[in-house]
């Protein structure tokens, strides 16, 4: 039933004013939401976001399926047409890679020996899960993807995400079956990185362009075009050494990074189940009491036992002597203070008695 057919047919609503009132209320609400909203805070909004993402993911997956099929079909057909040239290219690449493989094996062997000699504790491998990006946001104010991996797969906010070429972004929100990945190019993205050649630290700041900026580069002349950039691991949010990109000079004169992950469309991604560096070490080893290993150590030899007993006795005697010296020094200080106080008192008494003993001068009184 239309409004004008109802019992309120004679009431005329000031439509423009009603609309204006709703607009004002809406704008105020939006401003409050912006002022109080944090992208990562677990508020009611983040649950709403999780709900929308959970609903949008299957739709995005269904829409992207034909894209993948089409891409695979093009690759399949292209494989036939370019088989000969591809074969030649691959042969040349294999010949080049053989040399690199031999060198890598030799370096790996030397590296392992150095690690053993120096007692270096290398980081254990970080577990990862593989998923697929199902939607893509490319605007200037948000650059993100939905990935079809969620809490059930062990994904947590903050986990780094890699493509086959390099770092893509970080997980910013997770719901049951799906998670949101903020890309390195997002305007709110900041990742601590380093230049591999010089170890110069910097912050990779996204600004919605394809090549994020290198901010806060430490040192002078530490960066040049073509330098490889990797994650520095500073702050503990992202593990060290993940490939990021190549340094290039921007048109605005700033240092920028051509991302490895931007070379091709991001389809399959790997989520590193990395929270912070605490997971890379054994917590019980960190929390163990000092010298706790002595309980499980073998019994000392008589010589060692004698040396330990001798050292213990010497330390006890030294401690006792130091304590005695401290006690004597304190007693001497107290005695000195008492003597000084007594001397002061005597001087004060003498000073008080002196005016009484002195005769008063004779006055010239008029007769």
């Amino acid at each position: 039933m239309a409004f004008r057919d109802g019992p309120f047919e004679n009431i005329k609503l000031p439509l423009a004013w009603a609309a204006a009132a709703v607009v004002v209320v809406g704008i105020i609400t939006a401003i409050f939401m912006l002022a109080g909203g944090q992208r990562q805070a677990p508020t009611r909004m983040s649950y709403m976001r999780a709900g929308v993402e959970t609903a949008a993911a299957p739709v995005g997956e269904a829409l992207s399926a034909p894209v993948r099929w089409t891409g695979n079909a093009f690759d399949y057909i292209g494989g036939y047409f370019f088989a000969v040239s591809e074969n030649r290219r691959l042969r040349a690449e294999i010949a080049e890679l053989n040399d690199w493989r031999d060198e890598a094996i030799a370096l790996k062997n030397i590296n392992a020996r150095y690690e053993k000699m120096l007692g270096v504790h290398t980081d254990p491998p970080i577990p990862m899960v593989t998923g697929r990006a199902v939607t893509d946001t490319r605007g200037p104010f948000a650059r993100a993807r939905l990935v079809n991996l969620g809490q059930g797969d062990g994904v947590r906010p903050g986990n780094p995400v890699l493509s086959e070429h390099g770092l893509v972004g970080r997980i910013s929100g997770v719901s049951g079956p799906v998670s949101r990945m903020v890309l390195l190019t997002d305007v709110s993205s900041r990742i601590p990185v380093m230049v591999e050649r010089t170890d110069a630290r910097a912050v990779l700041a996204g600004d919605a362009s394809r090549n994020p900026r290198l901010d806060y580069v430490r040192g002078v002349n530490m960066v040049q075009e073509g330098d490889r950039v990797i994650t520095s691991g500073d702050g503990g949010g992202v593990p060290r050494g993940l490939p990021v990109g190549i340094v290039a000079k921007g048109v605005d004169g700033s240092w920028r990074v051509k991302l490895f992950s931007e070379r091709v469309a991001i389809d399959y991604v790997r989520v590193l189940l990395f929270q912070d560096f605490n997971q890379l070490v054994d917590p019980s080893a960190l929390n163990a009491a000092p010298l706790a290993a002595l309980d499980s150590a073998p019994a000392p030899t008589p010589q060692q036992a004698a040396a330990i007993a001798d050292a213990t006795t010497r330390r006890a005697v030294a401690n006792a002597a130091a304590a005695e010296r401290a006690r004597l020094a304190e007693a001497n200080a107290v005695a000195r203070e008492q003597a000084e106080a007594a001397a002061r008192r005597q001087q004060e008494q003498a000073a008080a008695a002196a005016p009484a003993a002195t005769p008063a001068p004779a006055g010239n009184t008029p007769g």
């Binding site: 009603a18 993402e53 605007g139 200037p140 929100g173």
Partner: protein, 172 residues
């Protein structure tokens, strides 16, 4: 004797709800991660068309409410800060509400100029909010990359206005 003129009555479902749903569907469709020859799909802000056209067709309370919802949907779906596009859309709606008295019935080219101004206003608002929130300014090229496809949606806005302007637009 004057003959009665037949006027088609259009309910809110037809000129508010269906276009809003269409804007949502197109937004989801264009979020498909497709890249052809190195180029991704355009990502226009479809609800801006509605924020421009609805007050020109007829002001009502339902329009801004739906626009607020559409703005929240964009923020949720695109992963932006909550309230960003709700604010941008309502600022455009409010401005158009004020200007409709002066602008109704003008030539298409004037309407296009007004539409371009609306797009600029919405993006300027979003840009300002982003700069204040992240302390980092988005690059100009991606900004233009989203503004241009949104500007190219003007024929849709014009078609909406032509379609519903002469009808008896009822609601609630």
């Amino acid at each position: 004797m004057r003959r009665p003129i037949s006027v088609r009555v259009v309910g809110p479902l037809e000129w508010v709800v269906y276009p809003a749903l269409a804007a949502m569907a197109l937004t989801i469709l264009l979020a498909t991660p497709l890249r052809l020859f190195g180029l991704a799909l355009p990502e226009p802000v479809f609800p801006l068309v509605l924020a421009f056209a609805w007050p020109m067709i007829r002001p009502n309370a339902l329009g801004p409410i739906v626009l607020f919802g559409l703005g929240l949907f964009l923020d949720l779906f695109w992963g932006g800060p909550m309230g960003l596009w709700a604010l941008g859309l309502l600022v455009v709606y409010g401005t158009m509400l004020i200007m409709r008295i002066f602008m109704s019935g003008h030539a298409t080219i004037i309407n296009f100029g007004l539409y371009a101004g609306s797009v600029l206003l919405a993006f300027f608002t979003a840009y300002l909010v982003t700069v204040l929130q992240t302390d980092n300014a988005p690059a100009i090229i991606p900004l233009v990359g989203q503004m241009l496809p949104t500007l190219l949606l003007f024929p849709v806005a014009d078609w909406l206005m032509q379609k519903f302007d002469d009808n008896d637009v009822r609601f609630m």
